[in-house]
Amino acid sequence: MSDREQILGRIREALTVTAPKPGAHGTGAGHHGPAVSPGPSSTRQWLPLVGDSFEERVALFRTNSAELKTDFQLLNSREELTAALIKLRDADGWKRIGSHQGELTQVACDALGLPVCRTDATYDVRELEQCDAGVTECDALIAQTGSVLVTSRSAGGRALSVLPPHHVVVVRREKLLPDLQAGFELLKSKYAANYPSFISLITGPSRTGDIERILVLGAHGPKKLTILCL
């Protein structure tokens, strides 16, 4: 018998006896009282609250970004976007960037006027490693958590948004979603026929607390995360 059959056989045998349903510890009810299984969408009502209007959501995204040390900028025109990018380039003396094909990434690359390592097709990792920033688009922003939702298809593969020391996201404000639930719904409707092999929720620049629980940014991924929202 193969290991697969053995394991599946043991699972089937074990499950002939049913386990008690989870009880309600600490809420006054009995330990093994009957429980009504929640539909996944109903969990939203227990998670952190998100406002209904765009303004409330932007405000929440801004608050979350501040706490996460994400640089979030809401911009009103292409000119402002260009200016913001140039400011970043000059402040850190960028010499080379990584990017991928896209409407807004194209605007960004044009504005910056720097050599670009493109990750749309096979590329050289060492070259990407030398880049000062990775400029990507994304699938969505999540107000509830201050996250950026990316996939290998929307953000130029797996490495572009994690290898360079600065990750810059260029995104239109229509992409701001209320919560994680909405993010997963979007993924489903957009990709269910053929999911990208990589999906990630990026919540702030890379960090660690492994030394005395003291926060340090830029552990292995980007030290900086900038979101330029048009």
Binding site: D3, R4, Q6, L8, R10, I11, R12, A14, L15, A19, P22, G23, A24, H25, S37, P38, P40, S41, S42, R44, Q45, W46, L47, P48, L49, A121, Y123, R126, T145, S152, R153, A159, V162, L180, Q181, G183, F184, K188, Y195, P196, S197, F198, I199, S200, I202, T203, G204, S206, R207, T208, G209, D210, I211, E212, R213, V216, G218, A219, H220, G221
Partner: protein, 464 residues
């Protein structure tokens, strides 16, 4: 060789008196508690969220016979090679074979408790492969040739001074007491390893049955690099990691982050559904998923404690446990420490050898209260005690309780024993707390209060 129980007792005795250790742990966990409470308060209802999480995990585990094959079928459909391992040894052999077939030289690893469980690094190193842990905390304990101290915070027992000394010795860096500089030393040392590694090995936090993806939660970006750069990627996970639907993550990701580290969401939550797909520019050419049983099915067969398989390894129960906070992570001598370790280790590695962990508990229930998926931890500790006593009754205990029962059932005799105890008490004072004391096991670290001159019963007789 000393038995594990002797070791546990000896190390506990030493470490509970170590003030440096105590301060370090109290400070680290104090910071965690403040953050955790703040993030919990942001939930509209933490208790309902816990109930929902418990029910979703119940559904996943109690229908594992459906969800696990679903997960596997969908992964395989997109080109992932799925391997099944009944034991730790099989899992090691599978991984060794993949690595050998690749003629790999260097391997980069992101944090995986399952890999600790099967002692993967030892096996790989024994075969001459270079394995580098990339999570900062894991990297530090690997350089110290130690096991992780905590399932989420592997290097919580070290000060920046310890780490600076370690880096100076092992990496030749200049001493510094700045955590940021220390982190950058590790970052630089590991960057090159990523670019040159042939194989990347990861664990997984969740396995999504609906879409055939694994989900990895991390703060540093090391797992993302591990999954992006090497040509071959291997994920090792226990069969219990399954969640039915992708949107279940909308609940589990914030709960894991809040309970585990006091964060609203961990920095990177990534889903991997296969090797590089047509039209994609990077990612591994080969993706292997190794599913580990290693006696999890035995725990599954115990309906009473099956919910221990709901564990999402957040570490919250360790953080609140008075035993863990006093004896520390290494004293357990297990891969999984703290309350959850005490509950499952007897199932994974033998009840008689590991039952002492279930006895080393005040049964205060703080763990059960903290657990985001509502595992009935402290009752399981009690059940382990009961099961071990059933399986192998202790003769001394049996006799003691027989005598106690005999005496207590006879009020006359009980009165005589009380009299005798009062009579001998002054003598006991002479040996109290020394090795000559018959109650030494109790009195070596605790007080034994003196009996009052008169019992309540006698007092009542006189004064009623």
């Amino acid at each position: 060789m000393k038995s594990v129980i002797q070791q546990f007792k000896e190390q506990s005795r030493v470490i509970t008196k170590d003030l440096r250790h105590r301060n370090l742990i109290q400070t680290a966990l104090g910071k965690y508690e403040i953050k955790r409470d703040e993030k919990k308060a942001a939930f509209q209802s933490w208790s309902s969220a816990r109930q929902a999480a418990a029910e979703i995990k119940w559904e996943a585990i109690n229908h594992l016979d459906k969800h696990l094959p679903d997960f596997v079928r969908r992964l395989e459909a997109r080109g992932t090679v799925v391997h099944w391992a009944t034991t730790a040894e099989t899992a090691r052999d599978i991984i060794l074979k993949i690595v050998r077939d690749q003629k790999a030289r260097s391997i980069i690893k992101s944090k995986a408790m399952t890999a600790e469980e099967i002692h993967l690094n030892d096996a790989l190193e024994h075969e001459g492969f270079e394995v580098v842990e990339s999570d900062l905390g894991e990297y530090i304990v690997q350089l110290r040739k130690e096991a992780p101290y905590h399932i989420v915070f592997p290097a919580m027992h070290l000060t920046r001074g310890d780490i600076s000394e370690l880096f100076t010795r092992e990496l030749g860096s200049a001493p510094t007491d700045n955590p940021e500089e220390l982190t950058m030393i590790a970052r630089r040392a590991l960057r090159q390893k990523y670019v040159t590694a042939d194989v990347g090995i990861t664990g997984a936090n969740f396995a999504i049955a609906e879409t055939g993806m694994i989900s990895i939660t991390e703060n540093e970006g090391n797992a993302r690099l591990t999954a992006a750069l090497p040509k071959v990627m291997i994920s090792l996970l226990g069969i219990e990691k399954v969640l039915p639907r992708m949107e279940d993550l909308a609940l589990f990701l914030p709960m894991l982050a809040t309970a585990g580290a006091g964060q609203a969401l961990t920095c990177y939550n990534s889903l991997y559904g296969g090797p590089r797909q047509p039209g994609e520019s990077d990612g591994p050419e080969q993706y292997h998923v190794v599913l580990l049983d290693n006696r999890r099915t035995e725990l599954l067969a115990d309906a009473e404690q099956r919910d221990a398989l709901h564990c999402i390894r957040c570490g919250a129960c360790l953080n609140v446990c008075p035993i863990y906070r006093n004896v520390g992570g290494h004293t357990y001598g297990t891969t999984y420490s703290g309350p959850i370790g005490s509950v499952i280790t007897p199932h994974l590695r033998g009840l008689q050898e590991w039952k002492h962990l279930s006895f080393a508990s005040s049964l205060c229930g703080a763990c059960t209260e903290a657990c985001p998926v509502k595992i009935d931890l402290h009752h399981h500790l009690l059940q382990n005690r009961r099961n071990s006593a059933h399986e192998k009754p202790s003769v001394i205990e049996k006799i003691t309780f027989k005598i106690a029962g005999f005496v207590m059932n006879r009020p006359g005799l009980y009165a005589v024993v009380k009299k005798l105890a009062r009579l001998f008490q002054p003598l006991h004072k002479l040996v109290k707390g020394t090795r000559l004391d018959p109650a030494y096991a109790w009195t070596q670290s605790r007080d034994l209060p003196t009996l009052p001159a008169e019992s309540f019963k006698d007092w009542w007789k006189k004064n009623k």
